[in-house]
Amino acid sequence: MKKKRSLMQYICAAPHIFWAVLFIVLPLIIVLGYAFTDADGNFSFSNITSLTDYAPIFGLSLELAIIATAVCLFIGYPLAYFIAKAKPRTQKILIMLLMLPMWTNLLIRTYSIMAILDDGGFLNSLLNTSFHIVGTKGAVIFGMVYDFLPYMVLPIYTCISKIDKNMWEAAADLGCSPVTTLVKVIFPLSMSGIISGVTMVLVPSISTFYISQKLGGGTFELIGDTIERQFVTGALNVGAAISLVMMILILISIGIMNKFSDEDGGIIV
């Protein structure tokens, strides 16, 4: 459906278009430029071809991000369901509690976790133990789950709470026990929320560098760290190339997920 836009609509959109061009489109073009040039500014594919060296890091990033996303979904879905089924007043309080950690800066939160879990940290001194947590994959995954869980819960919660109350009753009417209702009706109907939740957790988990630096204890590097290191050490071209590949991979995975949601009950009532 094509509609002629009025001048007013253009005027309203202008600030954002200006912003987007200046701070999103232009930088992307610059990244693209760096990715396909060498240090002297000549056109080159060497950055892209050198990326094979980073394949293991890509793999590890993907592995940790997928595990963190799965854990978020596993914890987040029941939580979202619980909140959506609570009384309206309780819902507000629970959502506020869920958002509460987000009022604190991500870096500070990550630092605090590190302080708690560190070898000589709060947890170990409290229990008088010597667990080695920071520096393990588990700690990084924990950090990701802790930081990104709200991004999983919120879209699923929104989706479930939008499901027509009649759906529950219709399912019960047609013979579904509460558990069957959840599996056969509510879960498929909240698929679009799950897709957004997964996207919103997976993408920052793949590209995070701060969490892996602090909670990884410097023992392993994720792709975000690699990109950061390239830029900090002045290897702009390689950094740009990795970023570009990351972006393309993320776009592809979002595309796949959207397709999946269109086919499998992404229709929200």
Binding site: A172, L174, C176
Partner: protein, 372 residues
């Protein structure tokens, strides 16, 4: 016919507001029963208590003699057609109808046979693979009916199922529902606020108001023998006049003594007299039992709707003959057109057409005229 469902002393309140007040009711096997009443009368709540979506504060629900008050909805042998259909958007037409059978884990070929039968019954063959969101309101309605009937329930509950359809389609669906009910021979419990719908489809009508049953009866009983002013007014148009029962079969109203067919009242007992607009004949003033002045005439297609002022009380009369506004006419009423009711708490609240919309226009015009 045997009692299938019985409600005993059912009460239900929301936030201290009584929606149903100690209701007793039974529903017979294989009948088409309709709960009829204005919004807020408790009809939908009653239906939801039978369906198991609400629990009564007091009282019991019996199904086939067994107390099912505490049985959850999914274990009851009743199915519901919801007001907004409540089809599952993630399933196509076929899978929506097959849904209850899959829950019961029936074999695939039986599911196919049953769903196909249902599709035939609701005339939706060829729609199997369509998404329910692409269907029209009437088609969605049919899917909802098929889905509710496919698992062969003993009772089908219908909560204003035709409310969202346009008039023509609603009439068609009324006939269709009635014939489906007769064909499969199960109990239909139907909720509506549309009196015409209730009269044309039901075996039994339960008229409800303020959380209480006002009258239970066949459509003809309800129409011809309303129990009180509420029922008389809610079912069709009625002139409800204060009268005095002089003796059996003699009633006085509008300063005139009429012969009637009702009896069994005390001597000089105050009563409500109901006269249906279509039962009044317009005659020459000198030949009428009553005389009045026409204040408004509205053409309604089949007939004219005439408002007549008789000694300050506005009557509504339906006549196929046109009369001039402001004309003086006579009214003739047959004895069997006069229906006598005992006084009730609804007396005096209904049946005077002074507040009829056309009249209100006139009144405000008169006020405007006075301002000059």
């Amino acid at each position: 016919m045997a009692k299938l469902i019985e409600l005993k002393g059912i009460s239900k309140s929301y936030d201290g507001e009584k929606v149903i007040d100690s209701m007793d009711l039974y529903i017979r096997d294989k009948e088409f029963i309709t709960f009829l009443g204005p919004s807020g009368c408790g009809k939908t709540t009653t239906l939801r208590i039978i369906g198991g979506f609400e629990t009564a504060d007091e009282g019991q629900v019996y199904f086939d003699g067994v107390d099912i008050s505490d049985v959850p909805a999914y274990k009851r042998q009743v199915n519901t057609v919801f007001q907004k259909y409540a089809l599952f958007p993630h399933l196509n037409v076929y899978e929506n109808i097959a849904f209850p059978l899959r829950i019961k884990k029936l074999p695939e070929d039986e599911i196919r046979t049953r769903v196909t039968d249902m599709l035939k019954m609701v005339a939706l063959v060829g729609f199997e693979n369509k998404s329910v969101s692409t269907l029209s309101g009437g088609q969605q309605q049919r899917v909802a009916i098929a889905r509710a009937l496919v698992s062969h329930p003993r009772v089908l509950l219908l909560d204003e199922p035709l409310g969202a359809l346009d008039l023509k389609l609603r009439k068609d669906m009324q006939n269709e529902l009635k014939s489906i009910q007769q064909a499969i021979g199960i109990t239909f419990v139907y909720v509506t606020h549309d009196q015409e719908e209730a009269l044309s489809m039901s075996d039994t009508v339960v008229v409800m108001a303020d959380g209480e049953i006002q009258q239970i009866g066949t459509p003809t009983d309800i129409y011809n023998e309303p129990k009180n002013a509420f029922v008389a007014d809610f079912i069709g148009e009625s002139n409800i006049i204060d009268g005095v029962m002089l003796e059996d079969k003699r009633v006085k109203f509008a300063s005139h003594v009429f012969d009637c067919v009702d009896g069994g009242y005390d001597k000089n007992e105050a009563v409500d007299v109901v006269i249906r607009p279509e039962d009044v004949d317009v005659v020459a003033p000198d030949k009428g039992m009553l005389q009045g002045q026409v204040t408004a005439v509205t053409f309604k297609g089949v007939h004219y709707e005439i408002i007549v002022d008789i000694k300050g009380f506005k009557w509504m009369i339906q006549s196929t003959d046109y009369v001039e506004p402001d004309a003086i006419i006579g009214l003739y009423i047959e004895p069997d057109a006069i229906h006598i009711m005992k006084k009730s708490k609804y007396s005096g609240m209904f049946g005077d057409y002074s507040s009829f919309s056309d009249e209100i226009d006139q009144l405000s015009d008169a006020d405007a005229a006075l301002e000059f």
